[in-house]
């Protein structure tokens, strides 16, 4: 199963190679053309065989949120900063793997026993955190780690409960997994499967890829935030985990085309694919870069509601994932360009 393998790989913004090479191996014999570009995108093409064919780009990003080492202290601890948006409160006591050698470490913070009056219950700042790789001092730490090394969450893929999956990096290996399943598909248009780099640091891979591909239409396969737990009002849920594939009216980066949304909704209804609309306009994804490229490209996002997104224990529902895959496949069959 692609999703399990993909989430276990370590691919951070600017160093997506492990994910890219995994995907390359899986699809190189299926697609008509495949190449990597200078920013780290992987682009595969399935030709229609027609002259002057229209182009459709479907994309998912390979990178996951991560940490990188900014300082090694005299005591041998690693100070770090984030690559992509990570809430500091999800970091404390988490297991991480550092650098290409995947050196195990844990993120340390002051134990409750040692916290002073006033420190208890207050939010922790990233400056107070560090990665402990069990080194006895700076010299020993430097044998295993150097400045700039990345660190990823160490978290296993687990299926649990009523159809739920917990893993790190579901954002957006889940989209990559859905995209991989299009590798055998051929349509009336040229299909570009674009696995993008550096989404989490500002939609950078997609910015470049959209200009190179210059498609007539683009679909982004993504994950999106979900708040459907107790303590929140329904208006603040944003999306519901298990509520079907998520369609968006707008987010912070894109106001999605109403005509296309309507068409996608038509296809979802026709094939009885469960779908929901996102009820907040927070966040942004590769669509933000793509839809403004090349004089404007019609773009849509199909997302999967993800609880605890950008944490080591992100959670999705399998049915939503199946709905996302079904919707993108059916829509590509039906879309009129």
């Amino acid at each position: 199963m692609y999703l399990k393998e993909l989430t276990s790989l370590r691919g951070v913004p600017g160093y997506e190679a492990p994910v890219r090479e995994y995907i390359f191996e899986k699809i190189k014999d299926k697609c008509d053309e495949i190449y990597r570009d200078n920013i780290g995108n992987l682009i595969a093409v399935n030709r229609s065989g027609k002259e002057n064919a229209k182009k459709v780009m479907v994309c998912a990003h390979m990178d996951e949120v991560a940490l990188f080492v900014t300082k090694i202290t005299e005591e041998g601890f690693l100070k770090f900063d984030t690559l992509g948006g990570i809430d500091t409160s999800v970091l404390v006591s988490k297991k991480v793997l550092v650098g290409d050698m995947a050196i195990p470490g844990v993120i340390g913070a002051k134990a409750i026993h040692l916290q002073k009056k006033g420190e208890r219950g207050k939010g922790i700042e990233i400056e107070e955190l560090y990665i402990d790789i069990g080194a006895k001092d700076k010299k020993e730490a430097e044998k295993k780690v150097q400045l700039g090394d990345y660190a990823t969450f160490d978290s296993e893929y687990t299926e649990f409960g009523n159809g739920f999956i917990k893993a790190k990096a579901l954002d957006d290996r889940l989209g990559c997994a859905a995209l991989l399943e299009l590798a055998d598909c051929r349509y009336d248009f040229d299909l570009y499967l674009v696995f993008t780099a550096q989404e989490e640091t500002g939609l950078r891979g997609a910015t470049v890829a959209a200009k190179r591909v210059n498609p007539d239409f683009a679909i982004v396969l993504e994950t999106t935030a979900c708040n459907d737990t107790f303590g929140y009002l329904e208006k603040d849920y944003s999306t519901i985990c298990g509520g079907g594939v998520v369609l968006l009216f707008a987010d912070m980066r894109t106001y999605y085309s109403k005509e296309i949304l309507k068409d996608v909704e038509r296809v979802a209804k026709k094939y009885n694919i469960p779908y929901q609309f996102k009820k907040t306009v927070s966040g942004g994804n590769d669509a933000g870069a793509i839809h403004l490229s090349c004089g404007g490209i019609k773009t849509i996002t199909m997302s999967v509601a993800t609880k605890y997104i950008h944490s080591p224990s992100s959670v999705i529902n399998k049915n939503d994932f199946e709905a996302q895959k079904m919707l993108v496949q059916k829509y590509l069959q039906e879309v009129k360009l």
């Binding site: 009216f249 009820k279 306009v281 490229s293």
Partner: protein
């Protein structure tokens, strides 16, 4: 002023510019060589000519709201489209693009609500008796704009959406009243400026101009309060020097100032210490575009009662026409 009045009263919040584009297209289609819309909702009109490609830009969208959730009792929660102040929004009337009217009201369950008002405290009442009734009129994803009727105060006008329909008005008059041209001219009625200069960013790529001028409103320093800003209503067309999105090209700036002097057009120079305009997106397009901006000084921007001066509006139109007739890059 009838044309300006009509333009301001069209409901076209960001991302929903079709209605205002339909109106503008109808006004100018007989005056241009080609006219088309692109994938982002820009309306682009071309007046063919020789010489350098020049792009004039005004944005069609206005700030507004997007329905995100309908409560069981029929009240509508919303998100902002562009810079919507919760204090400005409270107790204003809104009109959805499908014509449904509503009022913005507040969930006053916090004691200090008025001290720290957030958009998430507000909701829209369309007079529905419950969710089912509300859903007959409004679906989530529907957009609305604020209401604010057009008033003629003599020298000045007041309305919602002068930002940036007053510049659309200028462009329409420029297209109709210009006598000659020395450039290949594109008039871009740009979408989604309030969401981050999005339409202009795409249009600048497809038009690929060598020179560009954006027309937009700018803030003023002539009201009570502490803001230090030299721009005043009634002092003429504001030739932009800088804002947060652009340092205007010295050639364009100089060309504008000299043209004002030559034809005795009242002008003032503008330094805006916040905000940005489409000029910011256009000048970074391609390998760079020599870009400037002419502003219509406007009080109370992003409120339902924006105020501008008729003389300033005429000055912006005159200056633009003279720039076109003199020619860019000559």
């Amino acid at each position: 002023m009838e044309l300006l009045k009509k333009l301001t009263q069209i409901t076209s919040p960001s991302g929903n510019e079709n209605a205002v584009c339909d109106f503008i297209e109808n006004e100018i289609k007989d005056y241009v060589d080609e006219i088309y819309r692109d994938n982002l909702g820009n309306l682009i009109a071309h007046k063919k000519g020789s010489g350098a490609r020049v792009m004039f830009d005004a944005h069609t969208d206005e700030i507004g709201i997007l329905a995100t959730f309908i409560e069981d009792n029929g009240y509508i929660r919303f998100a902002n489209l562009g810079g919507v102040s919760p204090y400005n929004a409270l107790y204003q009337r809104v009109k959805f693009t499908n014509g449904t009217d509503g009022v913005v009201t507040v969930d006053a369950s916090r004691d200090d609500i008025m001290k720290n008002l957030k958009l998430s405290d507000l909701y829209i009442d369309i007079g529905a008796k419950d969710k089912e009734d509300a859903e007959k009129k409004v679906s989530i994803g529907d957009a609305a704009a604020f209401c604010g009727e057009f008033c003629d105060l003599g020298d000045k006008v007041v309305s919602k959406a002068l930002d940036d329909r007053v510049a659309c008005y200028c462009l329409i008059r420029i297209i109709k009243e210009m006598k000659s041209q020395k450039n290949d001219l594109y008039f871009v009625f740009a979408s989604s400026e309030e969401l981050g200069l999005r339409g202009a960013k795409a249009a600048a790529v497809s038009v690929n101009p060598e020179y560009a001028v954006a027309l937009d409103v700018t803030a003023t320093g002539d009201t009570l309060g502490k803001r230090k800003m030299a721009v005043r209503l009634g002092d003429g067309a504001a030739i932009k020097i800088k804002d947060n999105s652009i340092l205007c090209h010295p050639y364009i700036k100089q060309f504008m100032i000299e043209t004002c002097k030559k034809y005795d057009i009242p002008y003032q120079t503008e330094v805006l210490e916040f905000g940005g305009t489409d000029a910011g997106a256009i000048h970074l397009s391609g390998a760079g575009v020599a870009t400037g901006a002419i502003s219509i000084p406007t009080r109370y921007i992003h409120s339902p009662c924006e105020m501008a001066d008729k003389g300033d509006i005429e000055a912006v139109i005159n200056l633009s026409i003279k720039l076109i007739e003199e020619g860019f890059g000559e």
